[in-house]
Amino acid sequence: MKRSNTFGLITGLLLGAMISTVPARAETEITIPGWADFSGPYADVMPAWSSGRAAVLLWWNKTSGAAAGVKLNYKGFDARYDPAQVASMWPGIRNDLKPIAMFGMGGADSAALQSRLPDDKVPMVSAVGGYGFTWAPNPWIFNLRPTLAHEAATFLSWYQKNKKMTRPVRIGVISSDAAPAWVDTVNGIKSYAKNNAAIVELVDVVWTTPQPTDLTTDVFVLVNKNVDLIIVMTNTAGSVATKRALDSLSSKVPLLLGAHNGLSALAKAMGGLNLIEGCYESAAMAPPVENTPAFDFYKKLQAEYALKASWESATILGIGQALYLTRILDETIKQSGADKLTGAKLREVMVNYTVPAKDMLGFGADIKMTDQSSFPLVGLRGYIATVQGGAITVLDPSAPVPDIVKW
């Protein structure tokens, strides 16, 4: 007995010594850079946007990351929404951080990096919509949302069905040629109208200044042409000027706006939601309303992961893009292992794997990127919201985004 006890003790000690010399599982630390704008035109919304990104990475570290032995660090870089600034900062970021992916902001970083990322092999996930010029093969920049033209088309096909119209929806578009992105949106709407004559008839396009103050004459012309709807996808100044013109003409023609110049921004400028009853907003992202799965996740981030930003579009964009990237990371780790993560592998997963809607926690539908475009061409869904009784109401949280012939 004594001999067996001694033997057991020695065995136990030896085993303990062996276990203690096995190194603890090494944690892989990865820094994800994110383009930001703290000193440019989007400086106001950047704190909320950045907080959304950072909070999701913290959440992932504590959940999937802990299990995989991977820790993500977020680092924001202020590029002032200037392609020159992005171009000058990128080489240093690439060499210092050796990123495997990054967060994009919009047109400026897309313009500066779209030619460089294929060589540098670092995919970029952008939360804003795509553009006509990003609808090109072999993308390394991926937009979670389609173009604004797609989002307008989502509403138009929903509107016709919902209003049980047997004729095309007659639309007028108010835009400006000050920014190529706005011109691109109009070109997309024209393409949709041309190829879906049964759904929509584009009556007229009004080109105005980038910050219009009075559009009464232009809106009068549209109203006289009996449009069913006016689309304004430029900026808040455009939507305010159009709404004021409609009010001065006592016209009930509804407005369709985008997420960036939408109902909240218009209400703030006009003086209250009750003043914009009947206006619509459409976007392929989570709606900025409560009582949704997305809002529940936001509350969780707020309570447990130090998210200080309010529930608004910018926060939604930040959370959405970070969530998508972490889901792609999960799948890449599953396929390749946590110690073999590269940008090329992440990109391969992005174009081959569909992130299911349930994994996006209400921040998107099934997302399947493609090698033919920077944004998904199938499977996207968007929300349609309006103002009813002085409150923003989501009429359809999951309207299908229709196809548009490439323009």
Partner: protein
Amino acid sequence: MSRDTAGVFPLTYRQDLALIRTGKQWICLILFFVVLAAGPLILSDRLLAVLNITLITAVAVVGLQINLGYAGQINLGQAAFMGVGAYAGALLSVRFNLNFLLVIPLSGLVAAASGYLFGLVAARIRGFYLALTTVAAHYFFHFAIISLPASWLGGAKGLSVPPAELFGFKFTGEGSLFLLNLVVLILMVYGAFGLVRSHYGRDFIAVRDDDAAAGVMGVDVVTTKVKAFLVGSFYAGVAGALWGYYLRYISVDQFGLFNSIWMIAMIILGGMGSIVGALVGVVVVRSIQEAITSLAPVAMTAFPNLGGEIVFASYNMILGVMIAASLLFEPKGLMHRWGILKSSYRIWPYPY
């Protein structure tokens, strides 16, 4: 050159005209070029990227200095001419498959042609009216790019530019692009010095100082003004081509009116009527721009009540403050102050 204890005195007309007067100055200049050429070996990619944009901007600003600083023709459309050069370069590279050695000067010529049109206008008007007319260059450029068929100039989509290539070597890295931009800048600055020290330069200065008197003295004022725009736009076009090869994607919104205003600020700060002043102005203003961008997030963290809109506005406020302070305290620019310092050093301990 006579070098006695009383100073350095030229003994021939050629020596009197020389920009580099002494052997020591030659050594300093050569060492400076050697250090610059070694940039890709000693500087980080981030610094090289900042320098690349600085070098490209410097080419355009040197052209603007000739146009505005030497010939006195106010030009608020330099960024638009740069855009013309960029689009010309993109089309020549993509549609005609030309090498960058041809693309760069041809882009300059295309931009010069557009500048020629404004030069004709400049012959009839001056001052405030000329400034507004050159602002129109931006609107013409923007309108042309956006409104013409996308298959011609890319329209709202912009144009992708292939990298510059020489015998199979592609200029894609920051180091190789730095050397390309540096060589082009050196050539353009050399040309600028030659131009302003020739009779063309004397004509420019005469027209700037008093075009009526210049006309009476026999200077062809109209042709001189047109030439000033031609040369300034050529430089802008070359800078535009370099910009296209650097960024590899060009869009109309990269060449806005504010870019032209920044270039004017660089000339005012550096010193009107001085090629070196233009270069100094570019370096100083770019350094300030980089500093603001680097400090903005720090400021917002340290002072959360500051608000993003204030930080954003400060970027442009600082531009205004720089121009105003420069005009108030040193209207002749930093080069004038440098000239005073050099003279003081040479005659020290005497005050004059």
